[in-house]
Point group: none
DNA sequence: TGATCCATGTCAGCGAAATGTCAGGTCGTT
DNA sequence: AACGACCTGACATTTCGCTGACATGGATCA
C-alpha cells in the first residue's frame, strides 16, 4: 500500500519511512505543507501520516482542505504538542487518529493498520474499464462478469492501472507500487507481468505508450 | 440529539451530562446495566456513552446484547482499563470508539462527534454464508441447521470472517482480532486454525486469496 | 495426585502456484 | 537498416499455504 508521509524533520521522516517500508508499505515523503496538499489532492494514497508543525502550510489546514475537496483517505496525525485541545482540533478537522510524539514505532504501525481497516468501507470499491470490472473488497477481477483468477502481483498491477485509468502510468510508478523499493531494474519482470495480465484479461485493456509507460483507456459513459 | 449515558458514578455522570446538555444534546442517564439494556433496546438514541464496570450487568454484555438484537447506534465506551486485550474485546462487542479515563470533556465531545459522523455500520444477531449460519447471541455455528462444536479460537475466526464476509480479510487482521497482539508471525498457527475450521465446516466456506488473506464469499439472497 | 481430555501451538515436508530469468522475437522510430 | 524498447514462451526457482503428527499445557475428575 502506498503511503504519504508528511514530516519536516528529516531524522524522524527517515526513521518512520524505513519502518513503514519494512512493514511492506510504499512510502513517499514530503516536508512541506503546500506540496503535501498538492500530492494528497491529486494522488491516491492508502493513508497519510501527517505531522503538524510544518513549514509552508499548517498541517491542520492541509487536512481540512483535503476533506473539503472530498478526499477521504485515512489520516493519522502526529504532533509534538500533546495537549487535549490539539487532539480535539485534529479529530474535528477530519483526522482518523492521533499520535503524540514521541511514540513507539509499533504503536504507529498498529494505529495505522487500525485506521486503514476502519475506513476501508468508505472507498468506492468497484471500478471498471472496458469489459473489465475490479472489485477491491473481494479483490476480484471479472471480464464481462466472468471472474478471472489473478496472482497477487497481477492483481496489484491491474488494481493500480484501473485506479489510474485514463492516464499514462510510468514503469517506475508501477515498480514502486507493485514491488517495494527494490532497485533492480535490469530485469524485465514488469514486462512479463504485463504480458501475463494481457493474456488473462485481453490485450486491448492495457495500451503501451512506448517510452512512457502504460495506459488503460477511460471508458466513455 | 438524544443520548443515553450509562454511568454509575454520580459525580462523573452529572459532570458529563451537564457538558453534553450545554453542548446541545438531550441526555438520559441510567446507572444500572439492566436498565441500560432495556432502554437501549426499546428506545432510539443518536448515540450511547457506555461506562464499563456497572452494577447489574456488565457493560460489555449490555453492548453485546444490543448488537445481537440489531441495535447499531454508535457507542462510545468509557473505561479505566485500556489494554489491547480490552480494546479487542470492546471492538468485538461492537464498540465504535474507546475513551480511557480520565479524559477531558472536550475530547469526549470530539470523539462523540466523530462516531456520530461516521454513522454507517450495522450488526445483526444472525449472519450466514452458504450453508453456514452464525448466531452471535448464542455463539453457535450451524451447517444446514446442524450445530457444530467449535473451540473458542475457531469460533472467533469464523465470527470475524462471517462478519466481514464479502471482503478479503488479511492474515494480519485475523491475528489482531483473534489473538490480541502484534508481531510474532513466524508461526503458522493461523493456517492450522483455518485448516481445522475447514475440516469442520467444509472447505468451500473460506477461500484463500494467496498473498492477501482469506475470503468468505457473500451469498446472493 | 495422577490420568485423561481438549485446545492449541510447533514442526517438517509436500506440492502447487507465483515469479524471476533468459533467450530470442517483434515492432516502431530515426 | 539499425537500434532500442517491448513482447513472448520456456524454464528454474522461490514462496506460500496446507496437512498430519506430535508436543505442551491447562482443566477436570476420580
Amino acid at each position: 500500500m502506498r503511503l504519504l508521509l508528511v514530516e519536516d524533520d528529516r531524522r524522524i521522516a527517515s526513521d518512520v519511512a524505513s519502518a513503514l517500508t519494512s512493514a511492506g508499505y510504499v512510502v513517499e515523503i514530503v516536508r512541506d505543507g503546500e506540496e503535501a496538499w498538492f500530492l494528497g489532492d491529486t494522488e491516491d494514497y492508502g493513508a497519510v501520516i501527517l505531522d503538524l508543525g510544518l513549514p509552508g502550510m499548517d498541517g491542520l489546514a492541509v487536512l481540512k482542505r483535503w476533506r473539503s475537496n472530498g478526499r477521504h483517505m485515512p489520516v493519522l496525525v502526529l504532533t509534538a504538542r500533546a495537549s487535549w485541545a490539539e487532539r480535539v482540533d485534529g479529530i474535528d478537522a477530519g483526522a482518523d487518529d492521533y499520535l503524540p510524539k514521541p511514540f513507539r514505532m509499533e504503536e504507529l504501525l498498529a494505529r495505522l493498520r487500525s485506521i486503514v481497516r476502519r475506513t476501508a468501507g468508505h472507498a468506492s470499491s468497484v471500478v471498471s474499464a472496458g469489459d473489465i470490472t475490479l472489485d477491491e473488497r473481494q479483490m476480484k477481477v471479472s471480464v464481462r462478469g466472468v471472474p478471472i483468477a489473478l496472482s497477487p502481483l497481477e492483481y496489484r498491477l491491474v488494481a493500480h492501472l484501473l485506479r489510474h485509468r485514463g492516464r499514462v502510468v510510468s514503469q517506475h510508478e508501477l515498480d514502486e507500487n507493485i514491488y517495494g523499493h527494490g532497485e533492480d531494474h535490469d530485469s524485465n519482470a514488469l514486462e512479463v507481468l504485463i504480458g501475463r495480465v494481457r493474456k488473462k484479461l485481453g490485450a486491448e485493456l492495457i495500451e503501451t505508450r512506448r517510452g512512457f509507460g502504460y495506459l488503460v483507456p477511460e471508458t466513455p459513459a
